[in-house]
């Protein structure tokens, strides 16, 4: 493929027009990312393309990469070979329009290709007998519609691909191609070369994603909507005919016909669309409990059967419209609720999928094989590259390195590892390559221990009864009792005949049918959950919001929760010149320390033609950045904690040290929580000496260090026993049991897999503010829920006397029901106003 790259300027080229024209580009031979010999600079193209050239040209900027927009070495078009290759692919296929279409959101930059983990795709491929293969992948790096367009267009150019479709909502790519399973690697590499990360989905996760409950709910909603609309239309005709003197009165024959038509639509629709409620009510009754679905089901079934009886008798009133409209309204609430939480849960799953990585298992002949984490057997020898997560618990056989165990034990400083050291899954290898022999995966591993503790803690946690069900427990008997008393009062008290007495009693049930009551809580849930979702907070549990509102104590973990998940560079004693040089080298490495160094320096162009010595450092000529031994600084004073050294000819060696930094807004969030009247505690697995300064800086008096997972659970349970409702915020594997034991729990998205799965809430981003925002929203939501309940009960109190007195007609019931529902729904929108966002 011979392609030409258009060299127009060094300004942020993706914004320029000159790059657009399909495929008019040229590169040097062999995909070199160096500029050609004669870069003829042109003036930056203007947007309007008009004659007028503004005199105020852009100030000289640092060169930026034509693909990703990050700083590039001066005189270069690209920051790295990956970007050059991506640009070439895009231009080569004539898809240069991508760079303009991206401008939909100029703040975002195209993703930068990086050497990604390799995956064992074969286990996720579904090979069909007709010679086609299917594969589902999670995509990371999708930013806007242009990304979808680019991926699909690139796949469309592959002749073997039959379907390559991106689902932007769930961020998944579905690939169907003609050929063998081995072709998958090439197709995936094609997309990965553009800068997106692809991770295969396993079959079980895929089945869960099908979401059959959600679809069943929408189908029920459609049927209920159809029935409600048509029945109401007919009912209005009947009511108009009823209004004597306003129109010609409707004859009884016509009225009966219309009633029968209503029944024809309503009966099957109610039988179908009411199933979600009937099923849930039945399940509750079978366990001798009651929930909101019980009065709903009783109401709907009674109203329908009463209408049918009346219909057969040729009476004036039927209530089919009330029954169908009630179901329609309630199903809207159910569908929205299901969708809001399903979206949050799917996003949380996606985060986890993207984080996992395959394990490199050493075969007997010395070659390696990528295998899924679950497929590692005890006794396998695993290769752990620098910067990679250890995939299984085991014992180091060869190699020396330091390990970041912060996610596992809560210790913020790396621990050194050599032959014989026990390592745990989830720790990150910071130094050289390690060979680890996986140990028995039985009950002895730390993970298994934590999972056991989590199960135990979850079993002990008392079943939380949601507000709506608490209300239903008192509401249902009260309503049914009122109806009974009404009947008794009319039949025995007033001496009325049997049939009118029964009708009046049923009218009481219809008017008290808990439409508004049943919407009071879900409507608020939906609005609050969606609001939180937009700010990156994923509410996974249905009852989390209500449990959060009752919280009076917040317990934080330290490492990774109050502090940044990655170590940060200590700034003192580092001159900016050395930092820039070091950062330009570090920008080429994926090592965690190199990354934080590069991040600390801000926008620095990566140095070119550096050599990376795995596990040791990076060199560029005589300049070296890396470990103490790599830089030959062994004689220099030792310091605690991780370090990087920079040696340059003519300069003294410079040491970069790292420590954990508090999250930027930790102090602010803690004081915000205090202002809300919450008591804040700190419970860490790290050494007391490391916890004390953090506690002091944040002004947390109740703190404890060196707590094991068991002690953490005990501490949280002691708080619960003292009558506190605890929100536990933690990220480590060692926090998992404690998260399960707490009244409600939250994890940052960087948390260990186990913790994230256990937590009720997952929050994304570098800030801690979501915790305060979460509690604020939950409290507001609870307030609005209570108002809603009060509103709908108040409405019932007003309406019931009319029903008892026998004044309720179908149109009055329908109007009252819709009115109260609308009132409750409008009030629910106030739950959106929380926080200051």
């Amino acid at each position: 493929m011979s392609v030409e790259v258009a060299f127009d300027d060094d300004s942020p080229s993706p914004r320029g027009r000159g790059l657009g024209g399909g495929g008019s580009a040229r590169t040097g031979s062999g995909g070199s990312w160096l500029p050609p010999a004669d870069p003829s600079p042109q003036p930056p193209p203007t947007r309007g393309g008009g004659v007028f050239q503004p005199q105020t040209q852009q100030p000289p900027q640092p060169a930026t990469c034509a693909h990703c927009g990050l700083p590039a070495p001066s005189g270069r078009r690209f920051c790295c070979p990956g970007c050059a290759a991506a640009f070439e692919t895009i231009q080569g296929l004539g898809l240069g329009r991508y760079y303009q279409q991206r401008l939909l959101d100029p703040a975002l930059r195209p993703p930068r290709p990086e050497t990604a983990e390799r995956w064992d795709l074969s286990r996720s491929i579904d090979a069909k007998p007709d010679g086609t293969c299917e594969l589902s992948l999670a995509i990371d790096g999708l930013q806007c519609g242009a990304c979808v367009w680019l991926i699909e267009s690139v796949l469309a150019h592959e002749s073997a691909v039959l379907t390559g479709r991106v689902n932007m909502t769930s961020r998944r790519l579905k690939l169907i191609w003609r050929g063998t399973a081995e072709d998958a690697g090439g197709l995936v590499a094609r997309i990965e070369g553009l800068g997106y990360r692809l991770v295969p989905f396993d079959a079980s996760a895929l089945a869960a994603a099908q979401d059959s409950t959600g679809r069943a709910l929408v189908r029920a909603l459609a049927v209920a909507g159809f029935a409600a609309g048509n029945v109401m239309l007919i009912s209005i005709g009947i009511w108009a005919g009823e209004a004597a003197g306003w129109l010609d009165s409707m004859g009884p024959a016509t009225r009966d016909l219309l009633h029968w038509f209503s029944a024809l639509i309503a009966l099957p629709a109610i039988a179908y669309a009411g199933m979600p409620f009937f099923r849930s009510a039945f399940a509750a009754l079978r366990h001798a409990r009651t929930n909101m679905d019980v009065p709903i089901s009783v109401g709907v079934i009674l109203v329908t059967s009463l209408s049918l009886v009346e219909n057969i008798a040729g009476a004036r009133h039927t209530y089919y419209d009330s029954a169908t409209t009630l179901l329609f309204f309630l199903l809207i609430g159910r569908v929205l609720d299901h969708r809001a939480r399903g979206q949050a849960r799917a996003t949380a799953e996606q985060l986890l999928t993207l984080r996992g990585a395959d394990v490199a298992v050493l075969r007997a002949d010395g070659s390696t094989e990528r295998r899924a984490q679950q497929a590692v057997q005890p006794g396998d020898r695993i290769l752990v590259a620098p910067g990679e997560r250890v995939g299984a618990d085991g014992v180091v056989e060869r190699g020396a390195s330091s390990l970041d165990a912060s996610l596992v034990t809560g210790e913020s400083l790396p621990v050194s590892a050599g032959p014989g050291t026990a390592v745990f899954a989830g720790t990150v290898n910071l130094g050289g390559p390690l060979t680890v022999r996986a140990t028995a995966t039985g009950g002895a591993t730390l993970l298994a221990e934590c999972v056991r503790l989590i199960d135990a803690a979850e079993a002990r946690r008392s079943r939380f009864v949601v507000l709506a069900d608490r209300v239903a427990r008192r509401y249902a008997p009260a309503v049914h009792l009122t109806a009974l008393l009404t009947f008794l009062g009319w039949y025995f008290g007033a001496g009325a005949p049997l049939e009118p007495s029964l009708l009046t009693a049923c009218a009481v049930l219809i008017i008290t049918c808990p439409c508004a009551l049943a919407l009071a809580v879900p409507a608020v849930q939906v609005i609050a959950t969606s609001r939180l979702f937009r700010t990156g907070v994923l509410l996974k549990s249905a009852t989390a919001l209500e449990r959060l509102a009752g919280v009076d104590t917040v317990v934080f973990d330290k490492t990774g929760t109050l502090t940044e998940p990655v170590l940060t560079l200590r700034r003192d004693g580092v001159d900016s010149g050395s930092l820039r040089v070091a950062a330009s080298l570090a920008a080429n490495s994926r090592h965690p320390l190199a990354r934080s160094l590069a991040a600390a320096a801000g926008r620095v162009a990566p140095a070119e033609s550096v050599t990376e010595h795995p596990g040791q450092g990076i060199s560029l000529g005589d300049t070296r950045l890396g470990s103490r031994s790599f830089c030959a600084c062994a004689g220099l004073p030792e310091a605690k904690g991780p370090e990087l050294w920079l040696v340059r000819p003519g300069h003294d060696p410079v040491r970069f040290t790292f420590d954990e930094a508090l999250r930027q807004d930790a102090a602010e969030t803690i004081s915000a929580l205090r202002a809300m009247g919450l008591s804040v505690r700190l419970l860490s697995g790290d050494h007391a000496a490391a916890v004390a300064p953090v506690a002091a800086e944040l002004g947390i008096r109740d703190w404890r260090g060196g707590a094991s997972p068991v002690e953490k659970v005990a501490a949280v349970e002691a708080l619960a026993a003292a009558g506190h409702r605890v929100l536990m915020v933690g990220d480590g594997l060692n926090d998992g049991p404690c998260l399960a034991a707490a009244h409600v729990s939250a994890s940052p998205a960087t948390a260990a897999d186990v913790s994230q799965t256990v937590a009720d809430v997952v929050f994304q981003g570098a800030l801690l503010a979501p915790v305060a925002d979460l509690l604020r929203t939950a409290r507001l939501a609870r307030r609005v829920m209570r108002q809603n309940l009060a509103l709908s009960i108040g409405y019932n109190v007003l309406a019931v006397p009319f029903a008892v007195a026998g004044y309720v007609t179908p149109w009055l019931a329908a109007a009252a029901m819709s009115g109260s529902s609308l009132l409750v729904i409008s009030n629910s929108f106030r739950a959106r106003g929380g926080g200051r966002r």
């Binding site: 939909l104 367009w149 932007m168 038509f261």
Partner: protein
């Protein structure tokens, strides 16, 4: 008032047709990716 029979039948058929089409669109996955569909209309897709 016999016309009402035709009208009722017609409204049922039309409404039922709408319902069937909705259920079909649901089954064929048109509600799976609302965000993507909203973005897709902005781009030219080459037919193959």
């Amino acid at each position: 008032m016999n016309v009402i029979l035709y009208l009722l039948a017609a409204s049922l058929v039309l409404g039922g047709g709408g319902l069937v089409f909705f259920l079909w669109s649901l089954r064929s996955g048109q509600y799976e990716d609302l965000e993507g569909s909203a973005n897709r209309i902005l781009f030219d897709h080459e037919d193959r």
